[in-house]
Symmetry: C2
Subunit: 462 residues, 2 copies
């Protein structure tokens, strides 16, 4: 019976007959035996396989069984004498599906730099590091769905192609069916969008929030989980042109409820990953960042600290710590400030609230002081801001005023304003950058290494 | 304690104190009482609320409580004397968050056409029909994740922006950061892509399959579930420019395994929806299509019929039925043929296999007869093709030959071919058009009515 290696390693019993299918990681030959390490992607650990010379096709297959070759091996489980494994497979039949020429197959048994592995994005998932990253990425994804579905939230598929710019900011990619070699013109020499697919300019979305608000006004609790885009020309280890976002939106909810949900949400994801991918997490702790397990425990076990932006500024102004960027009420916090608060002052995640109106988006609810809005950011040790959210402005007149104050045209937001015209309610939500979460979880330094096929300036391979 | 209406209707007990938050659907006034129907999106059914004239703010709130107004009502549950409900809420306090002016609010108590509701996509989810559609859409989505996660498949996020065209067909949207008013040119008067974000032409993906194959070669079993795009100028009730697809990919799997998985997959989704959204399904059966419940039972309870394309053609040629389109070996089947097989001949889902090479994609595994490929389509009563899949060509030389035969350049597929160079294995997968599934499930006639914010020619609102 074909079994996944993860199941064999966990539950396989001596004398059990099993068949495994996977790829050879290493081969060692001794006088009478050969040992293979075979991996099928179901776990970090390989299954050790013992090939005896009296296998009928031993001479033939042993030449084919190089690193990367694909095999199906049937045999009997036996207790392992070697260290590091409880059980191994004594092969009775070996079938090689596909070889991997050791002269040209790039993944030979040695350490490769992440930079090099990015150039072979179609093969890098076959390494220990990327195997672990994408198993953890999957576990985070499913934990997110579980969390919301158990609470009665609906997953909403908000549109990727959009004619509006949610935040009134952010550089956007254009989506067009026009031929770039020959863009049609109107008599006034403008682009003739009447010939374009949508009849007007269209872009890749930067956020599903406004549409999520639409749906929250019908279903009370919803969330998005999908790709979003920035055409920002930032060739850094922190930016992607295409990345996944999670954006819950709750009707009849204020900022307190928003913070409660966000905290429970992060704890749930970390718990789920620690339970289902513990071996992968230990790998990262050993090889990549020896604080990831402690950080996970910190998130799971501590109540997040909550304080206002104003109090945080006062606190940062009092400290002896020197910062590269200035600290002053009204200025946005930099990563160094955020990390200082989370790592040095509170030594756990911190939720800052009530930011200055000027540095936050128009849709955030204005406080009575008119100087601050009901925004919140969750700052995590090691990474800084991981979640940003707010209570939304549900008052029609205030929202109109704030749209105008930002130089935007209220007419463009007619449908968003309608939500305040008809049955408006207090509501709130937040956004989680999914790749930032996976980085935070694994300690991986470059955001391009936590998404299967990264898109960035001049980078659109595979 | 705030409770969701779905939970109150299911489990609420007389004398229980509860608070509900939602939107008024209707109001009826009698001499001494007013009755409200309130909905919070958690279920099709409303909660009936009784307002007594001795409520302190009765005169004030009764004027505000029009259709669409948002409310928070606290009170005590009492057995209902009216028909159609077990329990109702006797209000003790009523708070109106937001009114909805009956003069301008478009969703008054009467039936609206789906055409009209499409023009108010930001409000239509507040109707019974769209409430039911999007609850079912969510249930299908979660059932899909559950199905694969329980079987150890990893959810893979394949890229949206792509430089390659998976199927060598399909019209694609261009993604660019260039200014369309002033597209830069090279000396040869070509588009100067060196100034574009990715340094070369980029498109919106038409399928994640090739990337899913990459990941299956590392993790054995994976699936995608995300948006895909077609720039086809089809202004019909069956086409969207942006739609969601599910694409599992399994290493060490042949077409038999592919069909087994696809059949189990469809059965699982229908079962899950029938269990979790039965009230919504009954609504569709009563109001939209009186066969949807029978169709769901048919899918769940019948073993799908399997036969070859060649046998299906023979069968269609023999029948007395007249068709609009010709039936002949080598031609693709039309919807009328597919439905005839599923509805008239077998009266259940049918899986056709081994289609002519010429009408299928280059990556499908060539049979020994060289005239057919190991493709399969699942044909469902009422809708025709719902799933299309194949065993993939894993033999390097055959794949190269087929790429060339289709006039494509093997150099563009270097990484896809590498999967056959290094540890190639038999593998298979399929694609499910997610909106087609939701249409099939609900009986909704227009595909634009099963996705929250449809994108189609000249349609990019909200």
């Amino acid at each position: 019976m074909v079994k996944r290696i993860v199941d064999i390693l966990r539950n396989g019993q001596p004398e059990e007959s099993v068949t495994v299918q996977g790829w050879v990681r290493t081969k060692r030959e001794s006088k009478e035996f050969a040992f293979l390490e075979v991996n099928d992607g179901s776990s970090m650990a390989n299954l050790q396989i013992v090939l005896n010379q009296d296998l009928p096709n031993y001479a033939e297959v042993i030449k084919q069984l190089n690193t990367g070759a694909s095999v199906e091996i049937a045999g009997v489980l036996v207790p392992s004498l070697g260290k590091g494994q409880r059980i191994e497979l004594k092969a009775q039949t070996v079938k090689v599906y596909g070889e991997a020429d050791p002269e040209s197959y790039p993944l030979q048994k040695k350490r490769h730099s992440f930079e090099f592995l990015r150039t072979i994005g179609h093969l890098r998932s076959r390494t220990n590091s990327f195997g672990a990253v994408f198993r953890i990425r999957n576990a985070c994804s499913y934990a997110i769905h579980q969390f919301f579905q158990e609470r009665g939230f609906l997953w909403i598929h908000t549109p990727i192609i959009s004619a509006s710019d949610c935040e009134g900011a952010g550089e956007m990619f254009t989506v067009t069916s026009l031929n770039l070699r020959n863009v049609p013109r109107t008599e006034a020499q403008e682009v003739d969008y009447s010939q374009d697919f949508f009849g007007r300019p269209a872009y890749l979305t930067v956020s599903g929030q406004l549409e999520a608000e639409v749906m929250a006004m019908a279903f009370s609790n919803v969330y998005t989980f999908g790709p979003t885009f920035r055409a920002e020309n930032s060739n850094t280890s922190r930016h992607l042109a295409e990345f996944w976002m999670v954006e819950p939106e709750m009707a009849f909810c204020d900022l307190e409820g928003d913070m409660d949900l966000a905290e429970a949400f992060l704890k749930h994801i970390f718990k789920y990953v620690m339970e289902t991918c513990h071996e992968d997490m230990e790998f990262f702790n050993q090889r990549i960042d020896n604080s990831v397990l402690a950080t996970a425990e910190n998130i799971i076990n501590n109540q997040f600290e909550r304080l206002t932006y104003t109090d945080a500024i006062a606190l940062l102004e009092k400290t002896d710590q020197t910062f590269e960027y200035p600290v002053k009420w009204g200025l946005d916090l930099q990563s160094e400030h955020e990390r200082y608060l989370a790592e040095e002052v509170f030594k756990k995640p911190v939720i800052l609230t009530d930011y200055p109106t000027e540095i936050k988006a128009f849709y955030m609810r204005l406080n009575d002081d008119e100087k601050t809005v009901r925004a919140m950011d969750i700052l995590a040790p090691k990474i800084g801001e991981i979640i940003g959210g707010s209570q939304r402005e549900e008052r029609l007149e205030v929202l109109q005023r704030r749209i105008e104050a930002q130089g935007l045209n209220p007419a463009d937001y007619w449908w968003y304003l309608d939500l305040r015209r008809y049955g408006t309610v207090p509501h709130a939500g937040f956004g989680l950058g999914f790749e930032r979460l996976v980085q935070f979880m694994t300690g991986m330094g470059n955001i391009r290494d936590v998404i299967p096929f990264p898109r960035a300036p001049l980078t659109v391979d595979f």
